[in-house]
């Protein structure tokens, strides 16, 4: 694709109608809770947008986030959006390798200094000066600090980059931290999820391209447009929860009837994400619809938040110290009772048989 080509021109060349593009803009606007008028503005801006340079650095990650994007229903508008950006460095996807790849990275940073968008997936290892995760002999920590300097904005893609994710899970051997722990002077957009929803990724990029600004974020740095409500709030099984109808096992009557999965450990009530509305696989389904509870992957520390199959109301670590406490309590009680017995005995031994003169002072 020619660098000078706009997104609309590119799409038309690919055989996509203007109507489809407008529809995409409208749905994106509604998903991001923008006013209807924004759809037109968005279409216009996107249509004219030029390809910004994007540098994508993978750290302690599993490539799941990349899979999520690339395996999104293709060919799709989301896919085309990716065509629209100049993805100048993405280890997994780029053809170049070795020194060639590193050169591309250096070039992109130099050429677009102050303008490029930096996408990070994976957490940053800080243990042993970051030695746990290196690319081309440089630690991720080092690469991040260098790449962040020239970035206009940073997108922390996936739960690892946003909140530390699985690498940060207890006991966190590599000293993994989220991007936001390292970089304090750049706007950071956290797109959490393990992996995040493709349309959320492209939506944020579209927003950035359209308005040139970072969308409104929640207190975890996530775009409110996608993370404003819990899965539970928008879940189609919610009426069963309200009626107290719960599946008790994965193969009982309740499960077959599609009742609420709360008791099977669904983390929907505490998980902020758009799965229940945007769904996955081209809007086909999402975990709860497939019969499995939400595991809360877009929330900080979801891996350490109790078992996936334990209801939210149940404790993560039942009765761990109860036996010890019972022994301690019984010991305290018995100790006090011996002391009491001695006291009472003493009182009895000090008893002087009362006479009538003991009734008056």
């Amino acid at each position: 694709m020619d660098k000078g080509e706009t997104l609309l021109e590119h799409m038309e060349r690919q055989g996509m109608s203007r109507r489809t593009f407008l529809k995409y803009c409208a749905s994106l606007a509604s998903l991001m809770a923008l006013p209807p008028s924004a759809a037109a503005a968005m279409a216009e801006a996107l249509g004219k947008a030029r390809r910004p340079s994007v540098i994508w650095l993978p750290f302690q990650e599993c490539t799941g986030c990349t899979e999520s994007i690339t395996r999104s229903h293709s060919p799709s508008v989301e896919g085309l959006i990716f065509d629209m950006i100049s993805l100048d460095y993405q280890e997994t996807l780029m053809a170049a390798a070795g020194f060639q790849a590193e050169e591309a990275l250096q070039n992109a940073m130099k050429e677009n200094y102050g303008k490029y968008v930096l996408i990070i997936d994976g957490s940053v290892s800080t243990g042993m000066d970051g030695a746990y995760s290196c690319i081309g002999g440089r630690s991720n920590l080092d690469s991040l600090q260098e790449a962040a300097k020239g970035a206009a904005a940073i997108i922390a893609l996936g739960t690892c980059a946003s909140f530390g994710g699985i690498p940060k899970a207890n006991p966190n051997p590599t000293g993994a931290v989220p991007v936001s722990d390292i970089i304090k002077d750049k706007p950071i957009i956290n797109i959490s999820g393990c992996p995040p929803i493709p349309v959320v990724i492209t939506g944020v990029i579209a927003h950035y391209l359209t308005f040139g600004t970072v969308p409104e974020l929640d207190k975890h740095g996530r775009p409110k447009a996608f993370y404003g409500e819990t899965i539970h709030d928008r879940c189609y099984r919610r009426p069963f929860y309200d009626q107290g109808k719960f599946a008790k096992t994965f193969d009982d009557e309740g499960a077959r009837n599609g009742w609420c999965l709360f008791e099977l450990g669904c983390k929907g009530p505490i998980t902020y994400n758009a799965c229940a509305t945007s769904k996955w696989n081209d809007g086909t389904s999402f975990p709860i619809q497939s019969g499995h509870g939400c595991i809360g992957c877009s929330e900080p520390d979801f891996w350490d938040a109790g078992g996936f199959y334990k209801a939210l109301s149940t404790p993560a670590n039942p009765l761990k110290y109860v036996a010890a406490a019972a022994v301690a309590g019984a010991a305290a009680g018995v100790a006090v009772s011996f002391a009491n017995r001695a006291r009472k005995q003493k009182a009895k031994s000090e008893h002087e048989t009362a006479t009538t003169s003991d009734l008056e002072k």
Binding site: A332, V336, N340, R343, K344, A347, K348, E350, H351, E352, T353, A354, T355, T356, S357, D358, L359, E360, K361
Partner: protein, 420 residues
């Protein structure tokens, strides 16, 4: 005189036990016990809430027998109980509590407040905070044999008169008989006919009996003031006499706290079961009635109501005999709204009637309004009761309010109408 705070606290430490600990731990400060206490209902003063009357005992319990309480005491967070405090509590523990036991019946968590008041008095008595009136009664009972200071020759005189009147022999110090008969000084002085009536009934029923020259007095001011050592001394006179005479039963007179003292507290004061049984006179009469020995020649025509003495009914367990007997001898019996084990106290039980300070008497008259209301609700002018102490208190109340109510003792009433 040798009362001291230290002796009082020591006595409390001796009597605090698991029930008291459980009761204090359970209290939720709901205040429902107040509704069962006539001193509260008739004055509306929250200080008369039964559980509040036990506040110093609660502190001693916590400070002495709970770990946190001891720590709080050491840290100065919980103040020790003082003489001044106990003195100010005297009114709450004696004047305004007759140990009637009604609060123990209503406490939702099951606290037996009366049990605790009785124990609290152990500490109050030996720390010198009992009211002078009860101290005097106790002294007289211990030192002179009875609360009225009655001597044996006077009793002999009564015996002589009753023998003459009834024409029946009244045995004294006779060993191996069925019943040793006890009386209260009050009865000997005011209702000596009681003795003659008993002689008549016993002779009819073929029951052998005796009086004891060593133990005629049944009342026990020691349990009212709350001095177990003195109560034991008093009750042991009866126990010794009964066991010396090898009687099968000891017959308690009507008097409420006398029955409590010998039937329920006695064995515990002595620390052993008795070798005889303790029977209340109404229990015996009811038994004779059911055997057909006790027959009435006629019935009282006027409608009557019944005042149930707390220590005999609610706290003593003589629940059915009084009513059954009363119905034998009256034409019309109208029970009070709260009757039997739910009856309201006369206001003078638990030693309260022995307190003669003007404030205490005034309080008693206020409390009597409850009985007055109960009486008025029945619409009758004759009230039967079976406790000498209730009778005195009721008479005082009736006089005070200038009521037109006649009081009759149940045994006396039965004796009057007994078949010749």
């Amino acid at each position: 005189m040798t009362a001291s705070l230290q002796k009082g606290i020591n006595a409390l430490k001796e009597v605090i036990d698991a029930p008291i600990a459980s009761f204090f731990s359970s209290c939720v400060h709901c205040g429902l016990c107040a509704e069962a206490c006539l001193f509260y209902t008739e004055t509306g003063d929250p200080r008369y809430t039964p559980i509040h009357k036990l506040e110093p005992l609660k502190r001693v319990y916590k400070q002495e027998y709970t770990l946190l309480g001891r720590l709080a005491k050491m840290a100065g967070l919980s103040k020790p109980v003082t003489d001044e405090e106990l003195e100010s509590w005297s009114e709450l523990v004696y004047d305004s509590c007759t140990m009637c036991g009604r609060c123990s019946m209503v406490c939702p968590v099951g606290n037996d407040l009366t049990y605790m008041i009785r124990k609290f008095r152990e500490g109050m008595a030996v720390s010198g905070h009992a009211p002078q009136g009860i101290i005097n009664a106790t002294k007289r009972t211990v030192e002179e044999g009875g609360p009225m200071g009655l001597k044996w020759p006077a009793v002999q005189n009564v015996i002589k008169h009753q023998q003459e009147d009834s024409g029946l022999y009244i045995p004294v110090d006779q060993a191996g008989v069925d019943y040793l008969v006890l009386m209260s000084s009050m009865e000997i002085v005011n209702y000596p006919e009681y003795l003659g009536s008993l002689a008549k009934i016993f002779s009819k029923a073929g029951i052998t009996w005796t009086l004891s020259s060593e133990a005629i007095e049944a009342t026990n001011a020691g349990i009212q003031i709350g001095a177990s050592d003195l109560a034991r001394e008093i009750v042991s006179r009866i126990v010794n006499a009964a066991e010396k005479l090898r009687v099968k039963n000891v017959l308690s007179p009507e008097c409420g706290h006398a029955y409590m003292a010998i039937r329920w507290e006695g064995p515990n004061l002595m620390g052993r079961p008795f070798k005889f049984e303790v029977v209340h006179v109404l229990e015996l009469l009811d038994e004779l009635r059911s055997k057909g020995v006790l027959k009435m020649k006629d019935k009282l025509k006027t409608p009557v109501t019944l005042h149930d003495p707390c220590q005999i009914v609610r706290r003593g367990g003589v629940l059915n005999a009084p009513e059954t007997l009363l119905k034998e001898v009256v034409v019309e019996f109208r029970p009070m709204t709260d009757s039997n084990k739910w009856n309201w106290c006369c206001g003078g039980g638990g030693g309260a009637s022995a307190i003669h300070e003007p404030e205490a008497e005034e309080l008693r008259f206020k409390a009597f309004k409850r009985k007055k209301t109960q009486l008025e609700e029945t619409g009758v002018n004759t009230m039967v009761t079976f406790c000498a102490n209730c009778r005195i208190t009721l008479e005082e109340g009736i006089d005070h309010y200038e009521m037109n109510t006649q009081l009759i003792g149940l045994t006396e009433l039965l004796a009057e109408h007994l078949e010749d």
